[in-house]
Symmetry: C2
């Protein structure tokens, strides 16, 4: 199924070579699709060729969402199309689309405070802006409009919702991402328009508040399918039953090739374990490539449920899932008794420009599910200043990865994973 014959070299370019192979040979890999299945086969084959001791897949059920066409046009007198993408999980529109006047809000909060009279039978437009910072910290403030906007708009009788992309670039790409419905609230179509299109639409509304939009989308929810977590281990030389879990997610959104989100993480953690094998680590290093992170941590929940009994033997977990920017801080989520060890570990990271962070790490989106069940975690925090320029857009492609920064990530993961795999310290919360 995959065409690259030779196995990759065990050197510091390995992380880059892996993400290159994944994005070129598999490409976009939306959970539940044929490409998702190809990515599972790709991962198993790479693990085997890299010499892992055990390689297996763990199936889980998921609701499959299928993207269709999406079109959004502004009626006369403007007669223009806007760049639009369906949000993941959104229903489609009737075949002829939904045409209606628009009501604009600057934030989700403004929408929740509006009255039915303002919203009923309209298309809601949330024109929230996303500011940049190294932690991508504003994402959490804005992403609610994407996740919960459809429910809040439907409660007030809206016919559909469009949001300004949760993105920080003025490139004309719409950012997709998962949205949610709520039992008992009408399921209305939800889509995102690019930042320049949101600016364009707000200028049009300033000229003509009565303008009409027409939205057509043909998404489907065909039903339940099987996807997989792919898992591989380097067996520990002294304490093989103690599991050091390092992870990333294998699935991606369908419009880019998932290079930053999360091909980079896949490359980093696969390479980390592969390079540490020759050092015969004392604890077992388990690499988990989670499936369907984008649909709502579906693979991670399945993993936590399946391994519930063994989580006490998971001595540590971490995930790389914030692109390929340089690591700048080492955050922990461990018991107080382990913080001395953590500070010693951070000293080894100092030459890479990595500072000590707080003890409030989530460990990463998928790993946060494990932390909630008591597994100690850490996060090698990446520079995410530009992450939301590309995240969830067609522009998330291999060329956006800086190989030098990716190598620095690999160096940091090697140090963190080595130190934890060879220690006997109890990190538990």
């Amino acid at each position: 199924m995959n065409v690259q014959a030779e196995s990759l070299k065990l050197d510091k370019d390995l992380a880059y070579k892996l993400v290159e192979s994944l994005t070129v040979e598999v490409g976009p890999r939306l959970a539940g699709t044929e490409a998702d299945m190809r990515s599972v086969v790709w991962a198993e084959r790479q693990f085997q060729q890299l010499g892992f001791d055990k390689v297996w897949r763990e199936p889980f059920d998921m609701l499959y969402w299928e993207r269709g066409q999406a079109n959004l046009t502004v009626a006369a007198p403007f007669n223009q199309s806007l760049v639009v993408t369906a949000l993941g999980g959104s229903v489609g529109t009737p075949f002829d689309g939904i045409s209606s006047q628009v009501v604009m809000f600057n934030t989700l909060e403004e929408l929740t405070q509006a009255s039915t009279a303002d919203v009923k039978d309209r298309i809601v437009f949330i024109n929230h802006a996303l500011e940049k910072d190294i932690r991508g910290g504003f994402y959490g403030q804005v992403v609610g409009g994407r996740a919960r906007g459809a429910v809040e708009a439907a409660k007030l009788g809206a016919k559909a919702i469009i949001i300004r992309s949760v993105g920080s670039s003025n490139n004309r790409f719409a950012h997709t991402g998962q949205m949610r419905y709520e039992e008992g609230v009408e399921r209305i179509p939800a889509a995102a328009i690019s930042v320049p299109d949101a600016q364009q639409l707000s200028k049009m509304l300033a000229i003509n508040p009565e303008l009409t939009l027409s939205l057509q989308m043909s998404n489907n929810l065909p039903g339940t399918v099987t996807s997989h977590n792919v898992i591989a281990e380097i067996t520990g030389s002294k304490r093989p039953d103690e599991i050091v879990l390092i992870s990333a997610h294998l699935d991606s959104w369908d419009e880019g090739t998932g290079a930053l989100d999360d091909g980079a993480g896949v490359g980093i953690v696969m390479a980390t374990a592969a390079l540490l094998k020759q050092e015969k680590p004392e604890r077992t290093i388990r690499v988990v490539l989670f499936g369907n992170e984008e649909g709502g941590l579906i693979g991670a929940r399945a993993y936590a449920a399946r391994h519930h009994q063994q989580l006490a033997k998971h001595v540590f977990a971490s995930e790389s899932d914030f692109g390929a920017g340089r690591v700048w801080r080492f955050d922990t989520g461990m018991g107080e008794q382990a913080l001395g060890f953590a500070r010693e570990l951070q000293k080894k990271l100092t030459p890479l420009g990595i500072a000590m962070g707080p003890n409030t790490a989530s460990g990463g989106p998928d790993v946060s599910i494990l932390k909630a069940q008591g597994v100690p975690v850490a996060s090698l925090m990446q520079d995410g200043t530009d992450y939301f320029d590309y995240h969830h857009t067609p522009n998330d492609t291999l060329d956006k990865i800086d190989p030098t920064a990716l190598k620095q990530n690999l160096e940091a993961w090697l140090i963190m994973t080595r130190e934890i795999a060879n220690s006997q310290v109890n990190l538990r919360l």
Copy 2:
């Protein structure tokens, strides 16, 4: 038809306000479309509201090209779609598309030196790269692949041609632009893929040189339609029969809103003449907004033909059509006797950071047709370093214009146009 009621203020923000109005209220305006017609009405109305003495339109016939859908997929084992756009003027494919192996060349020259055995029944892929510089000078070296690639490929029996976009950004936008066929050579479909997709495809070909591409496009050439040049004048106070022609083109490609190409130029030259009206210039200032520049200077050729007898009274012509970057040089295309005057004029431009250039200016794409018939020209050379990041892509939108740089353009055009309109010097070649 247009909705903005009030007229724009006669101040230094006028150029920006005009391009904002054009891009928001009209948007993309491919020659021959309904939007092209709306842009003509928009221009006439703006000229009237700005107080021009005469406003009229001049019709011309043109071949109308209609963009359809475009899809390009890589077959198994890669199974991916690439970001593609039809080149302007290209025929479509059969409904089921064209599927074939690929032959890659790095340049048009490599293609022309290939043999029929290498190319026959294949899809040709020209993977030329575009370097950046302030003059956009590499564009001319690479654009031949877009303009003439289909003819050269068809001569060797190719089924279709795709080119790496003639663009300098790694954003995942395909760049459209006009291509040409030749009498007696088969008309094969021609399309462009984005720079990251070209890199992706070349990596795939390195792994599997036998891979198959499938191209589907549904473009049409429905026939001849009418488009227009829109013209307006400030009548000269002393020598009204002497015409100082300043110009831009009103049409745009259909994927962006034509902000840089050439909404900026439209705003600059309309504002220049409107602001000079109060100074009662001695010669007549004629603003020409050419139609269908993108299809091959069609409006400019029509203008030159219609006004052939009066070109001797065109004492000067210039066009703004290179985006909205700061003007950095004043190039001339005048008789030797006028160069002293030109140097005096340039001294007035010095405070704006504008140097004296050579006497080899074309005057701009449309105006080059007039220069060929003896009309003296100049070019206020704009910084085009980033121009080909946006040019001919969906990303050519208002937010890409720096209002401060646009204002510097307006200042430069005011000085140049004022000095020439009030002088008696003979600029003739």
